[in-house]
C-alpha cells in the first residue's frame, strides 16, 4: 500500500506541471489578457501596468510560466487590482467552501447509496422507476436553474430558510445550496449504486452466501454493498471537477461567501488575475483529492493496488 501511494504521488508531479502549464497556456499563449479588457479598463494605464506586471507580459512565454509556477510554489496566487493577496482571500474563504462541499458530499453519498440500494432491491417497481426518472432530470437540469428554483421554493415561497447568505449558520443556511451542489452527482451515485449492486447480487459468491442460509440483510451489508461501492468511489474522483464548477455557480447564486463566490464575482468583473489564481488552486486541490480517491479505492480493492 505504501509503495502504491508513493508511485501515485510521483505520477502527480508531471501532471501538476502539465496542468499548470495548460492553465497558463490558456491565459497568455493564445492571446493576451489585455485583449478582453473593457474600454474603461483599457484607458486606465495603472490597470494595464498592473496586468503586465502580474502576468509578466513583457517576458517571453516560457519565462512567464516559470515565474508563475515559482509564485505558486511560494504560495503567491497573485494580487487583486485593489491590492489584496489572492492567497489570503482564498484562505479566509476556504472554511465556508469546505463546509458547503462537505455537506454536499454527505448528502450525495448517504441519499445516493440509500436510494440506490432500495431501487436495486425493488428492481422494476414504482420506487425504482421513479428514482431513475428523477435522477435523469437532476442530471439534465443545469445547476443554476435548479439553484434558482430551489432558492425560490424554500427561500421565498415556503420561507423555510433565508434565500441568500449564511447568516443562519450551519445547517440551515447550507442545506439548500449543498443540495443544489450535490444534485447532479447524487443522481449518478443512485444509478451507479443500483447498477453495481444488481451486478454483484448476480454473482456466484452471493448465491453461495444465500445457499449457506445467511439472512438477506447480512448478505446485502457484508457481501453485496462492500463489493458494489468501489465504482461509487471511483465516480467521486471523476466528479470532483464537476463539483468545483458547480460550487462557483451555487455559491454565486446563494451568495455563500466561499472561494467559488469569489471566482463568480471575479468572472463577472473580468479580474483575470484572480480567476487564474483560484483556478490554479482548484487544479491543485483536484489532483490531491484524486490521489485520495485512488488510495481509498486501492484500500477497498487489492486488485487496483497491484495493477
Amino acid at each position: 500500500m505504501g509503495r502504491f501511494v508513493v508511485r501515485r504521488l510521483l505520477q502527480i508531479i508531471p501532471i501538476f506541471f502539465g496542468v499548470t502549464f495548460l492553465v497558463y497556456f490558456l491565459v497568455s499563449a493564445l492571446g493576451s489578457p489585455l485583449d478582453t479588457l473593457s474600454p474603461q479598463q483599457k484607458r486606465n494605464p495603472a490597470y494595464l501596468e498592473y496586468l503586465t506586471e502580474q502576468f509578466n507580459l513583457n517576458d517571453p512565454f516560457i519565462v512567464q510560466y516559470f515565474k508563475y509556477i515559482g509564485n505558486v510554489f511560494t504560495g503567491d496566487l497573485g494580487t487583486t487590482f485593489a491590492g489584496e493577496s489572492v492567497t489570503e482571500i482564498v484562505i479566509t474563504r476556504m472554511p465556508v467552501t469546505a463546509t458547503l462541499a462537505g455537506t454536499a458530499l454527505v448528502i450525495e453519498l448517504v441519499l445516493g447509496i440509500v436510494i440506490g440500494v432500495v431501487a436495486a432491491r425493488r428492481r422494476g417497481k414504482l420506487f425504482d422507476n421513479a428514482s431513475l426518472v428523477i435522477a435523469l432530470i437532476f442530471i439534465a437540469i443545469p445547476v443554476f436553474v435548479l439553484a434558482f428554483v430551489l432558492q425560490w421554493l424554500f427561500g421565498i415561497k415556503l420561507g423555510w430558510v433565508v434565500p441568500t447568505g449564511i447568516s443562519e449558520g450551519w445547517p440551515l443556511s447550507y442545506i439548500v445550496p449543498a443540495f443544489v451542489l450535490a444534485a447532479g452527482s447524487l443522481a449518478y451515485v443512485i444509478r451507479i449504486t443500483r447498477q453495481s449492486l444488481l451486478e454483484t447480487l448476480n454473482t456466484d459468491f452471493i448465491r453461495t452466501a444465500r445457499a449457506k442460509g445467511l439472512p438477506a440483510g447480512t448478505i446485502l451489508r457484508r457481501y453485496g454493498l462492500r463489493n458494489s461501492l468501489i465504482p461509487v468511489v471511483v465516480f467521486l474522483g471523476l466528479d470532483i471537477g464537476a463539483l468545483m464548477t458547480g460550487a462557483v455557480v451555487t455559491e454565486g447564486i446563494f451568495n455563500v461567501p466561499g472561494i467559488g463566490q469569489q471566482l463568480f464575482t471575479s468572472i463577472k468583473q473580468q479580474e483575470a488575475v484572480v480567476i487564474v489564481g483560484i483556478v490554479t488552486l482548484f487544479v491543485i486541490i483536484f489532483q490531491l483529492l484524486n490521489l485520495l480517491v485512488d488510495v481509498i479505492s486501492a484500500a477497498l480493492d487489492p486488485r487496483i493496488r497491484y495493477e
Binding site: 439534465a140 443554476f144 436553474v145 471537477g241
Partner: protein
C-alpha cells in the same frame, strides 16, 4: 453507426441466420420506449433548429419589426403571449425557439470536434504505440486534470475569441481527451485481433488497416459518448453564457436568455423557466439516446 462498421461486422458473422452486433442492438432498441421518446424529442428539436419559422415568427423576437414593446414587459403567460414576455416585452416562447439553433450548434460542433480529434489521435497512438503513444497519453492526463468548464472560464476570460466559435474552440480544446482514451484502448484491443493480422498478411498498408479494419471496430463507444456529451456540451455552453463568458448578446442562446432572466425570476418565473425547460429537455433527450444505444450495444446487459 457507420456503413463501414455494419459491413465489417457482417463480414465476421458466420451463417445466414446470425445477426450482426448492429442488427442485434437495433432489435433491442426497437422495443425500448425510452429510445423512442428520445428519438421523437430529438426529431422535434432538430425541426426547431432547422426551421424555427415553422414554430414561431422571428418578428416577435426583435423590436426592429415591432415585435417587442416595452409596455408588454414581463407580461404573464396568457392570450397575448403563450408563455409570457421578458423584460423587453419580447415573446419568451419565440425567443426560446430562435435560441435553439445557437445552443444546439455549439453542442453539435463541439461533440463532432472532440470525437474527430480524440478518435484520430487515439487511433494513431494506439496503432503505433511507442513514444508517440506515451507522449499523447501523457498530454491526455494533463487535459483530464483540468475540469473543462473551469479551463474554458480561464480561456474565455483572458483571450478575446469570437463568441460562438470561441465557445466551441474552448470546449473542444479542453475535452477531446475522453474520446482519445476510448479509441486508443479499443485500437490496442483490435490491433491484436485475427482480422487485423489477416489484413496485414494479405499485404494491407497501415492506413488501410487503421481506417478500414480497426477504426470501424473501435469507434462505436466514442460515438455513443459523443451523443451523451452533445447534451453535456449544450449544458456547458449555457453555464458559460450564464457566467457571461459564452455567447454574447445580441446573439442569443438558452444560456443567454437564462442569464438575462435571473433578475426577473422571482417576479416573473416564466422568463427563466421557459428557456430552462427547453434546455433541460434537450440535454435529457441526448443523454437518454446515448444511454439506450450504449446499453443495446453492450452484450452483458442483454436480458
Amino acid at each position: 453507426m457507420s456503413d463501414l462498421q455494419v459491413e465489417a461486422q457482417s463480414a465476421q458473422a458466420a451463417g445466414p441466420e446470425s445477426r450482426t452486433v448492429a442488427a442485434d442492438a437495433w432489435y433491442q432498441l426497437r422495443r425500448n420506449w425510452v429510445f423512442w421518446v428520445s428519438v421523437v424529442l430529438i426529431v422535434g428539436i432538430s425541426a426547431i433548429v432547422l426551421f424555427p419559422g415553422l414554430f414561431a415568427s422571428e418578428e416577435a423576437t426583435t423590436s426592429l419589426t415591432g415585435g417587442c414593446q416595452l409596455e408588454d414587459s414581463l407580461e404573464a403567460p396568457g392570450d397575448k403571449f403563450l408563455l409570457g414576455a421578458d423584460q423587453q416585452g419580447c415573446d419568451v416562447y419565440s425567443l426560446s425557439i430562435y435560441s435553439a439553433r445557437t445552443s444546439v450548434s455549439v453542442g453539435l460542433l463541439t461533440a463532432i470536434g472532440t470525437t474527430l480529434i480524440g478518435s484520430l489521435l487515439g487511433l494513431l497512438a494506439g496503432f503505433y504505440g511507442g513514444k508517440s503513444d506515451s507522449v499523447l497519453s501523457g498530454v491526455t492526463s494533463i487535459f483530464l486534470g483540468l475540469p473543462f468548464v473551469l479551463g474554458a472560464v480561464v480561456l474565455l476570460s483572458s483571450v478575446d475569441l469570437p463568441d460562438i466559435w470561441g465557445v466551441v474552440f474552448a470546449l473542444t480544446l479542453l475535452s477531446w481527451a475522453t474520446a482519445f482514451r476510448l479509441v486508443r484502448a479499443k485500437t490496442i484491443e483490435a490491433k491484436g485481433q485475427d482480422y487485423t493480422l489477416a489484413a496485414r498478411a494479405l499485404g494491407a498498408k497501415d492506413l488501410r488497416i487503421m481506417f478500414r479494419h480497426i477504426l470501424p471496430n473501435a469507434i462505436g463507444p466514442s460515438i455513443v459518448v459523443a451523443v451523451i456529451s452533445l447534451g453535456i456540451f449544450i449544458g456547458a455552453e449555457a453555464t458559460l453564457s450564464y457566467l457571461g463568458l459564452g455567447i454574447q448578446p445580441p446573439n442569443t442562446s438558452w444560456g443567454v436568455m437564462i442569464s438575462e432572466a435571473q433578475n426577473a425570476f422571482f417576479t416573473a418565473p416564466w422568463v427563466l423557466m421557459v428557456p430552462a425547460g427547453f434546455l433541460t429537455v434537450t440535454v435529457l433527450a441526448f443523454i437518454l439516446l446515448g444511454e439506450t444505444v450504449s446499453d443495446a450495444l453492450d452484450p452483458k446487459l442483454r436480458k
